[in-house]
Symmetry: D2
Subunit: 337 residues, 4 copies
């Protein structure tokens, strides 16, 4: 039984507490939050649970094996480092840290101490994303042409980070997980519509060594919610709509056929192939439950998490490059490897 301490009981914290309570191999034993009033309902709901307002108290609690961090981004580094130094395994909400230097430092600390460091790239633990990865890995899509994601909504307007750190990181982490090839450079554009506030709309193009291309559109200010991803391959294409209740993944047997055309080269070179559509049945397990079980398994067996510190570092590298590009209105920026 892994004993879990959760730091931060704001928007995401309650989901983490609930899932680690539910998971067979773990129990949440302590929760901390700077705001005392956030902890009050917890006592009503989980009477045995210990709480505290100071995170260091939780980090140094000898009865805790692993620390889950669900605080604002700016505190991730300090809290995760302290927890690792206290010998605790760590699960940290995305992004891993505010800068790539911090992220690298955390990766090293966890490696040195042989502790598990898992970054909460939640979508990687959904059945839809795992199925996409499998289809690409087994070659069913053929050569990948493009990955296009739209993630927009009239939602929470963040004050400390921009829409790339808040929303695009979901798509970047899915891209990182499902595409074997890693992006090498980025061109991003975007803007802030509220003076003095972070960018609330952004467009990110990722370039690869091959002719593959990826694009992510994120926006905090749209009247409707859209979660629409298109993945084009030479053999098959995927439409992944996360808002569809039961057919999140549609696989199309459509594409182009390129053939030499001796008589009429001009016309026959490219033709379209139309075919059936197929929607695989997906498991509805909550992603956070799969992730919790995976974290527990890594702690118990020493396995490397699928979204380990290095994956977290790659995300921060990508976002840093995207921000430089965005502020330079689309200038191509190489991604630090």
């Amino acid at each position: 039984m892994i004993r879990i301490g959760v730091i931060g009981y704001g928007y995401w914290g309650p989901n983490l507490v609930r899932n680690f309570m539910l998971a067979p191999g773990s129990a949440v034993t302590r929760v901390s939050d700077l705001r005392e009033e956030r902890l009050t309902p917890l006592h009503k709901q989980y009477p045995g649970l210990k709480t505290c307002t100071r995170p260091d108290e939780l980090i140094n609690d000898p009865e805790i094996d692993a620390v889950v961090i669900a605080t604002p981004v700016s505190s991730h580094y300090e809290l995760a480092l302290a927890a690792l130094q206290a010998g605790k395994h760590v699960l940290v909400e995305k992004p891993l840290a505010s800068t790539s230097d911090q992220a690298r430092r955390l990766v090293e600390e966890a490696a040195t101490r042989k502790l598990v460091l898992l970054v909460d790239h939640t979508f990687v633990y959904t059945d839809a994303v795992r199925k996409i990865r499998e289809m690409i890995a087994t070659g069913q899509l053929g050569q990948i042409y493009y990955y296009d994601a739209v993630r927009v909504n009239l939602g929470l307007f963040q004050h400390d980070v921009n829409v790339i750190w808040d929303l695009a990181i979901h798509d970047l982490s899915i891209i990182d997980y499902v595409l074997p090839e890693k992006p090498i450079a980025v061109s991003a554009t975007g803007i802030s519509h509220v003076p003095g506030q972070p960018e609330n709309v952004a467009y990110i193009t990722l370039f690869f060594a091959s002719s593959q291309i990826a694009h992510v559109h994120v926006n905090w200010l749209t009247p409707v919610k859209v979660r629409h991803t298109l993945i084009g391959g030479s053999e098959k294409m995927i439409l992944y709509d996360d808002l569809e209740p039961s057919e999140k993944l549609k696989v199309y047997d459509k594409g182009i056929s390129v053939a030499p055309g001796p008589e009429d080269v001009y016309r026959m070179l490219v033709s379209y192939r139309l075919g059936d559509m197929w929607a695989p049945r997906l498991d509805n397990t909550e992603a956070l439950q799969t992730e919790a079980l995976h974290f527990i398994d890594c702690v118990e067996t020493g396995r490397t998490p699928e979204t380990d510190g290095l994956a977290g570092l790659r995300m921060v590298n990508m976002i840093e490059a995207a921000e430089v590009s965005l502020r330079d209105r689309g200038r191509l920026v190489e991604i630090r490897q």
Copy 2:
């Protein structure tokens, strides 16, 4: 009764013939196409109609008042110029010409000769787009924040022009028509997935002097057709989905309210406003019929078309800048004014 000659009877030509036949003030009297076999069914369907394979024969036909050009892009300039020089009014399929120099030359020729030059930016003549323009012009949307358009499908793969010339021009012409402010610079990315062929996917960001931003995503290789435009303003937001049969336009009374927050500046600065949605009834008149009637009216009265040569020139200027940027992987390029 305006007597119309149509050059080019491929994909779009039949629609132009049908609409100028239908319009009260005009009749198509001659059609030309280089491919004799394209003309055969025309004889069956419109028995009185004259046809020819050589366009100059049609251009110099003294019984023709106006020439409609629906040929491949590379021939637009030469044919339109010859028609204007022969004293004919001209309606030319988009884009006006292959280069901005050619486009400017056509604008000048039409101006000198006081002939009507209308560029077929078809969407400008839909009721949905006209309603959007009206809502923006009357201030109902407030300050415009962004314009985001997606126009993708598994459709016709062009060999002579890329996806920007083929698809993005529709959105660029709508943007030109509905937004009072004109874009000043562009950053574009994209790629070709068939060696030796034009780019089949592109992402275009338009920058304005204000904090307004516009983005267009076009792709010839997606498994599903999408025509999805989001327009965000400080007062209202619009979702324009051209594939919706009866509710193409949805107007949302949603947005953000920015207010000073003396006590808790950090949190209260930005809050969301949720409200009703409203879908105005739209007229279903075919856009091409509205356009045909407008062309006839301009010819008869000497009025300037809503999509005149200058609008056509602005499109070519934008696309030329976007192509330079695309080949430079997103580099910011100013748009020639």
Copy 3:
């Protein structure tokens, strides 16, 4: 080359003319309509075509091989009978006739004279409906449980026939075509909301000798258009949505499994089976073109049409029974065989 005369140039007539003009083996040579003004645009569009206002003139035209009837329902019988008696093959818009006695008389007349009599049950000639029939015939759906169709819209309000004759006949003819078993009795309800006018909403339940059930909901007065059919079988289920542009047919590998449960009979008897969904690619040929080609083929070869007079008679029998039931508020009425 079959020479076709079309009687009635109202809503549906133009589609029939266009398709028989387009079909390789036929040409429309004459069109009649009581309203002279309906014929005027025809002269402009199809200059060689003969027209007349009196249908008997067309029926007795020796240059015509087959007569297509697209007039109000009340005239179907008289016109079709006259055409058969004049030795012409006949294609008549649905329904075949106003009463089952009339329909039977037409069937006999065609049989005696060995002439083709095809009833325009258009949907039978769509690729979607043909695919459904094939899937049922080959046992892919297993035992059929139910067929449920909704066909509603704010459309044309008919004055001479009610919504069953106008809309439900489409679904009844599809049911007749795809289900091997024929219904034996009907219970129908419905009402008229405009005093003195025919029923504008109706609900029809069809009973079969087996435990199969079918239901059709039709309504002229709904704010949205719906064309939604569910077909449930023991092995697979179908959702057929005719308004979907590209995925009209979705086949679900879902259903129930009934198994004996020795220990817990109560609970284990019925369980659900969830599975993939599959949307077969469909041919987009216009149904009326397929039907026109089929009619021409029957005329040339003497084959029996898929929607022959007997099918037309079965529809009239069903509707007569449904009307009796409707006026008796749901009373079970046997369908005449």
Copy 4:
């Protein structure tokens, strides 16, 4: 603070417990379930809570003010009666009882003892349904023509009650709540596809004294979930789609205009009116929370619940009539008043 005891901790019980825990004026103090193992996780989640397996122990617990019953239908009567006789206020899951005699007996018992009896017709407590009632009550829809509801899905197959008791009751209770006029007779059809099991598909037509009509289609065996209600009035029409995440209610300014037509009576009598669509913003409060607060308020103030025992009795009367009709294949059956 109303102290609540909940009997039955199966599918719906946990939702009731959670909501009465959450509601400010109440606390769940005891839960009973015949299956001891259902109660175990409760101890983990709500440590202070008392549990028991025998319902009478809970009913006679002097520390309980009100009893909430969420057990199989067949036990509703006995448990509710015992609770009322023990002086407890009662909230009972729908349907109130298995027979109208039982339902009437419970109504009388509650009245005699001046105790609150609320039947859990959950949908009545949604913002969408309350808005519909308001629009009808204030005459915005004009004269009501029809109410058409579809509630189908591949869901839980019940063994003790048929699909009318399980699903149609939701729609019948909405109809009861939003329409001022009460139905007087019913015609129902339906069938069971699993031998020995209750009907799994049913179609119910409700007749009223006026020309208003209502229809409910319920089915346990469809491959997709549908919650689609159309309400047509002379002034406006409503589409209520409970599966829409943010636009559950669409109000259409469409309909028919009936006008006298002296010259052309036949044609001009009925014409269509097309107009805008409007989707009001809805409150997203969980229906069960609104219901819990309403129950608490009724207990505290003695107010009559909006879904009181009489409403529960009307539902049972309707369903009893529908079942008689269904087994008689659509025969018209009067509804007991």
